[in-house]
Subunit: 357 residues, 2 copies
């Protein structure tokens, strides 16, 4: 049976890194006879420029019909002054929400070859392997009412709504516990239950979900403490589960602990395991078009896609092994450049991964 | 003219660290003839235990009449199962809100003597000196409506409201720019303006405020990026200004970069400069009563109080110099213990500061 992958290069460095990732996908497709077909579509700022919408109908239709989506990145200063309703980010948020990709898996893994890249002391981060499970289609990102209104006294007021219902919390909770079962069997749920009612409910529902997983340990931590503990002793965590906004902040902090955010893939899954895969880093407009971006996070996103949505574990393993091998060989893009290693271009890094495959 | 200080020991290690800080206050009061009187009152869990309220009327009245307030810390597992309306944190939030202490100044400073304590590489944090200016009486902490309700389908839903009006943003903006004028003349405003309307308004108003301070540079950063940049290269910041919730998270992360959160004071000021002063760390129930807590953050909070609210700059300088001296002497409480240094008790650390004065 043919599997359909939708490729969304997006903005900034998106097209460059996606080009290398697609070469890798094509190669394992042949090697492992995976029967994968792929087509491309527009999203983000480049979609806005061509169609007036960051998420054109055509893209959404293709996305709904795809077995998996591979995304580069969206956004850039060029579109910063647009009205919020048509900003590039709305393309990404629209995909997440329309496809109900509620479960965002963001691993923060330190590759032993890149231990130096971290701003933290080696002993604090050596062997780091955390998984952040972030709720992606609810919370304050999508809560209503929202907007900017004028008060009676003539002042303007901005407002957003942070809201979760039990079933939303339960399903992301289960995602986290399922993931923990495959790993260290520990879930730490992050809330601000000493101040925010919505997270009091969050904490309660997590306790209920925990009963379904007696083999997995649940602990709770306040979000401010979690931000501290990530800096102080990140290896204490196995799986962290949290809402959309806290997850945005904590997953970026966790990713940066490794010093090599250019290496980190992510998956956004729906209830059936179909998903969108993308690098954790953004569109990096400052280096776009220079051919120096690190394609490895996107290549590793292909591996995640093969594993989680396309039932091709062997091919996924092969890609991950190939990436590890090019690091062993001492090849580095400029973001992870290091003394004694060779700094290579985006294309050359793609070449090296293909060769290792 | 007599100045009145209200001392609120609070919970956990609060009473122990406050005891040392009050000794220091008494000493400089004599040395510099400051004419300061102080009295104590209950707040937090200990207030709840005695009166059924975490912020008794008597405490609030005394707080309103005080020229400055010195707080230890509130909260602990003992009160975790209480209804949110009477939890220890409500005492703290009630003081902030009733006294309109909207401007929370949280310095993250790395003492050269404690450079080792950081989990970050020395070159990343050496000389670190950031000031986080956090809005403290608005945003999602106080927004209405809030609560947990039952939906028509029988599910429960939790909700909170993130709201700011122009005047709230303007006054905290001015606090930040005023502070920046005394320092590196750079303000970085933190928002999530690619997703949250309330922070679109935040960003706009910050731009307006910036016009009043042509000598201070304003930049903007998204909160997820700010969390990353704090880990990657924290010395790029001078003053960061942000809302209540983001400020809670980022200021704790920034404090932890120093590895010595037991050293960091904070000030919460109202429009007239009256304020509440407290250590950045919490009530640390796990070590309460053992006599090992670090009193220096509270002692340095006394210095901040003298400087900002009691017009006693010299005494403030003297306290800060005394703290630096005891560090030079190699005295450390257990949280900042280090090879070659002497680990001392809370009381012995207080003794040493008094001796240095
Ligand atoms: C681009 C932006 C809307 C997005 C988010 O906030 O979710 C990004 O920061 C991310 O984490 O994927
Ligand atoms: C105790 C708690 C309510 C408080 C807050 O969230 O503001 C604390 O974390 C702080 O930062 O002062």
């Amino acid at each position: 049976m043919t599997k359909n992958v939708l490729v969304l290069p997006g903005d900034g460095i998106g097209p460059e890194i996606i080009a290398q990732a697609v070469r890798v996908l094509d190669m394992v497709n042949d090697q492992y006879s995976l029967n994968i077909k792929h087509e491309s579509a527009l999203v983000g700022g480049s979609a806005y420029d061509e169609t007036g919408s960051p998420l054109p109908e055509d893209t959404l239709t293709k996305a709904k019909n795809a077995d998996a989506i591979l995304l580069g990145a969206v956004g850039g200063p060029k579109w910063d002054s647009l009205d919020m309703s048509v900003r590039p980010e709305k393309g990404l948020l629209g995909l997440r929400s329309n496809l109900e990709l509620f479960s965002n898996l963001r691993p923060a893994i330190l590759y032993p070859q890149l231990a130096d890249a971290s701003s933290l002391k080696p002993e604090i981060v050596a062997g780091l392997d955390i998984l952040i499970v972030r709720e992606l289609t609810g919370g304050i990102y999508f809560g209503q009412p929202r907007g900017i209104r004028t008060l009676e006294n003539g002042e303007r007021e901005g407002f957003n709504t942070y809201v979760y219902c039990e079933s939303e919390i339960r399903r992301i909770g289960r995602s986290a516990f399922e993931a923990a079962r495959q790993r260290g069997k520990r879930v730490c749920s992050i809330d601000k239950s000493n101040v925010l009612e919505v997270t009091v409910l969050w904490k309660e529902v997590m306790e209920e979900v925990a009963k379904e997983y007696p083999d997995v340990e649940l602990t709770h931590m306040l979000v401010d403490n979690a931000a501290m503990q990530l800096v102080r002793a990140p290896k204490q965590f196995d799986v962290m589960v949290t809402g959309n906004m806290f997850g945005d902040i904590l997953s970026d902090a966790a990713a940066m602990l490794t010093g090599s955010i250019g290496m980190l893939p992510s998956a956004s899954l729906n209830a059936e395991g179909r998903g969108m895969y993308e690098p954790c880093h953004g569109s990096a407009p400052d280096i776009a078009g220079k051919g120096i971006a690190n394609p490895l996070a996107t290549i590793l996103s292909v591996a995640m896609m093969l594993r989680y949505s396309l039932d091709a574990k062997e091919a996924a393993d092969a890609i991950e092994a190939a990436v590890s091998k090019v690091l062993d060989l001492g090849l580095r893009t400029s973001d992870i450049a290091s003394e004694g290693c060779e700094t290579v271009s985006t294309q050359a890094m793609g070449d090296a991964v293909l060769a290792a495959l």
